[in-house]
Amino acid sequence: MQTIEFKQLDETLYYEKLSNGLSVYILPKKGFSKTYVTFTTKYGSVDRTFKPIDGNEMITVPDGIAHFLEHKMFEKEHGDVFQQFSEYGASANAFTTFARTAYLFSSTDNVLKNTETLLNFVQEPYFTEKTVNKEKGIIGQEIQMYNDQPDYRVYFGTIENMFHNHPVKIDIAGTEESIDKITAEHLYTCYNTFYHPSNMVLFVVGAVNPDEMIGFIKDNQSKKEFKEAPEIERHLEDEPKEVAHKTREMKMDVQKPKVYVGLKAKESNLSGDEMLKHELSVQIGLECLFGRASDFYTNVYESGLIDESYAYDFSLEQGFGFALIGTDSADPDKFAELVLEQVNKVEKEDVFKAEAIERIKRKKIGFFLRALNSIEFIANQFTRYKFNDMNLFDAVPVIEKLTVDDIKEAFGTILGESQQTVFKVMPMNERK
């Protein structure tokens, strides 16, 4: 087992790659009573066209299958896995994102027992036509729940506006029609292709003894057999750089319009230190333009164009990236116009002032130091960073070194009129 020290942060990370290819990371945290374990595969909703482990031809599977598979992992021949976790006092959960699927639990006692449950249930698939069909009603209701959430619709509508072909524009849960096509055989194909240990990371953080834990994990893994796994081949259609739709809207039963401005990234083929630096730079640039200390914020706040729902964010994964700035607003068009005006200033004026950038860097460093109190944050973020060959604990030193030029350069990748889109959710005309 290797150890990696982060002196400034007073943390030691333990790492070992097992013979079956599984990467295991263990981070002991003093003073905590709980342990949080995540078991994550680099497989998400965007992985819809790929070469299956036993096949030679590319196949395209029904939309929403990664999420469907996540649901179905919990059901076994002899019942529901939640039952076992509950018996040993563990809160278990799972989630599917665009790029990964994570299974996790936290518990204060019986950590080894719960780790065993986690490893075993994720590595022992059990799918039948009957259980698959039963799940369609449950996931159908999950899809309906999201369909009724205007905040979700405006977020997703903006993403749909931005992308022509990239599957990030497809809802993670799919649609009621697409999930209806899913069969047990599909699930096995996806499972066998993407749940090989070499495509997965196990991360353990909290009240844990690293030597005892790694011994336990190795023992568990050595009892299981896995085929040699070839490199996974995924296929993505070419995605034009510019947005697909400039502006669209939909109507819902809401009291106030909701609006998002999306800025599609021209550059998303990054990984490692380069990606870390790029991502942090764009985030700092966004904060400088749209943060609560900005002139923009003061203006839209004082003119009543925003409320407490106002937010902005930058997301980047291998193959796609975008910034979003949005709010509920009585005048969504005016808000969008001012956002774009502010964005376009970057090309004409010197908006990233050294003093403001230094202040925001300090804020960002403070954010990471606070976040390291949260073992949930560490576990979830660490794995995301890892899958992109970045290291979460490098964030603070990287921020310290960022310059105004770094921020200008990175921000340039989301500039340009062709990258800009607006999506609105408008109230229905007839109100009760």
């Binding site: 942060l9 006092g89 209701q141 309906q144 606070r370």
Partner: protein, 425 residues
């Protein structure tokens, strides 16, 4: 856990030194009996105090200064618990020792003092333009509940099951009461909060207990105060047994409200905690296992115990046509518990989960403060072992008794305008 001293009559300071966190956390809580008018005023007040103060008169200046203090988080918030309205000032700052700069903590304490005692006044009153803007923010916060159908349905159920009662009074008051606020009335509410509220001050982090106590006693010069009597809340009961409302939406939101005579702090309180866990509190519970896993009726289906008001809420998102079936399945689960159909496994799972939840909550600074703050009202030293012992003693017969005392008072169903038909779009 925390060591407590009274720094003025009605003002307590609770400090806990701990190396567990990389930050220092402060939480200052002002409490007053809950009424709609006070809730509205104090909600706007917390927004106005969050916006600016006498030293940083523009919001952007205030935010910039917080950024400079390594992104110190500082916010005022309004909430309620039982019959109290609470304004809280939460502050979290990085621990100096992880930085080259070691003056941050003193600067933060100065800023807390400024934010509380040096408001942004013009002619001894809050600035009218800021008050008007923040009134609008709070009004929009209240209105935005309509757009979140689950929260809206929950709010409607509480209004129906306990009208004009703390259980249904919002921590933000009401739109009408917010509209009535003037800079003058808000300034009055400010002085009343600072000088008359019951106050609890919490500090948690790797701090020198004596030194921080001295600094805070000097910085936070609150005067003595007397307890404020509670108003006579009228007896409140459900105004309607069944309500169906329509909006343009796909899913049906089923919200059921039950009452129980058992409240937080009663002898039977631990029994009700276990009851709720078995009924619908967890993924192993009867409601989850039957509504979702057996019948595939829903993605979410659960119960929650609102212990301060003696209410149990059951919520589920379903296909509108399945309304009756879902209600029947939920009621069957309660009947099963009344009949004693409760397994050892369900009991053990629930006890394990409750213990784990409480221990986990103590792993966050905010969790430690909130748990200590809530349980101190019981007048005993809080310990996890005490609660584990209480849960251990709960039997199936106890749960049968709890189930028998539960009374379904109101069902609220929010669904699409063409209920039961295909509403895809």
């Amino acid at each position: 856990m925390f060591s407590t001293i009274e720094i003025a009559k009605g003002v307590s300071l609770h400090i806990r030194q701990s190396t567990q966190f990389k930050t220092v956390n402060f939480s200052i809580k002002w409490r007053k009996p809950l009424t709609v008018k006070d809730a509205a005023e104090r909600s706007v007040l917390s927004n106005v105090m969050q916006h600016s103060n006498g030293k940083f008169k523009k919001s952007a200046e205030f935010r910039s200064y917080l950024d400079d203090l390594y992104g110190t988080v500082m916010y005022f918030d309004a909430s309620k618990r039982a019959n109290d309205h609470t304004v809280v000032l939460n502050v979290e700052t990085v621990n100096d020792q992880y930085l080259a700069d070691n003056k941050v903590l003193d600067d933060v304490i100065d800023l807390i003092q400024t934010a509380i005692f040096n408001p942004n006044f013009e002619n001894d009153q809050f600035v009218s333009s800021i008050v008007e803007r923040e009134k609008e923010m709070v009004i929009q916060r209240i209105q935005s509940i309509f757009d979140d159908k689950t929260r809206y349905a929950h709010q409607r159920l509480t209004q129906i099951i306990r009208p004009n009662h703390p259980a249904s009074i919002s921590a933000n008051g009401s739109i009408d009461e917010v509209k009535n606020i003037t800079p003058e009335s808000l300034t009055k509410a400010y002085h009343s909060m600072i000088n008359e509220d019951k106050i609890d001050i919490y500090v948690l982090g790797d701090v020198d207990e004596k030194a921080i106590q001295e600094k805070l006693v000097n910085a936070l010069t609150f005067k003595d105060r007397e307890p404020i009597p509670y108003p006579d809340y009228p007896e409140s009961k459900a105004e309607k047994e069944y309500t169906n409302e329509k909006q343009d939406m796909n899913q049906g939101k089923l919200h059921m409200g039950y009452s129980t005579p058992v409240k937080f702090g009663d002898d039977d309180y631990p029994k009700m905690q276990i009851f709720n866990g078995v009924f619908g509190g967890y993924a192993h519970s009867k409601i989850f296992m039957n509504v979702r896993e057996r019948e595939s009726l829903a993605y979410y289906a659960s119960s929650s115990y609102s212990s301060h008001y003696g209410l149990v809420y059951v919520v589920s998102g379903i296909e509108p046509a399945n309304e009756k079936k879902a209600i029947d399945v939920i009621e069957e689960q309660l009947d099963a518990m009344k009949n004693g159909e409760i397994s050892d496994l369900e009991m053990n799972q629930t006890k394990a989960m409750l213990g784990n939840q409480l221990k986990e909550a103590l792993d966050s600074a905010r969790g430690q403060i909130d748990i200590f703050d809530q349980y101190k009202d019981l007048g005993e030293e809080f310990s996890i072992d005490t609660w584990k012992e209480r849960w251990k003693n709960v039997t199936k017969e106890d749960l049968q008794e709890m189930a028998s005392q539960l009374k379904l008072e109101a069902v609220y169903f929010l669904s699409g305008k063409e209920s039961g038909q295909d509403a895809n779009n």
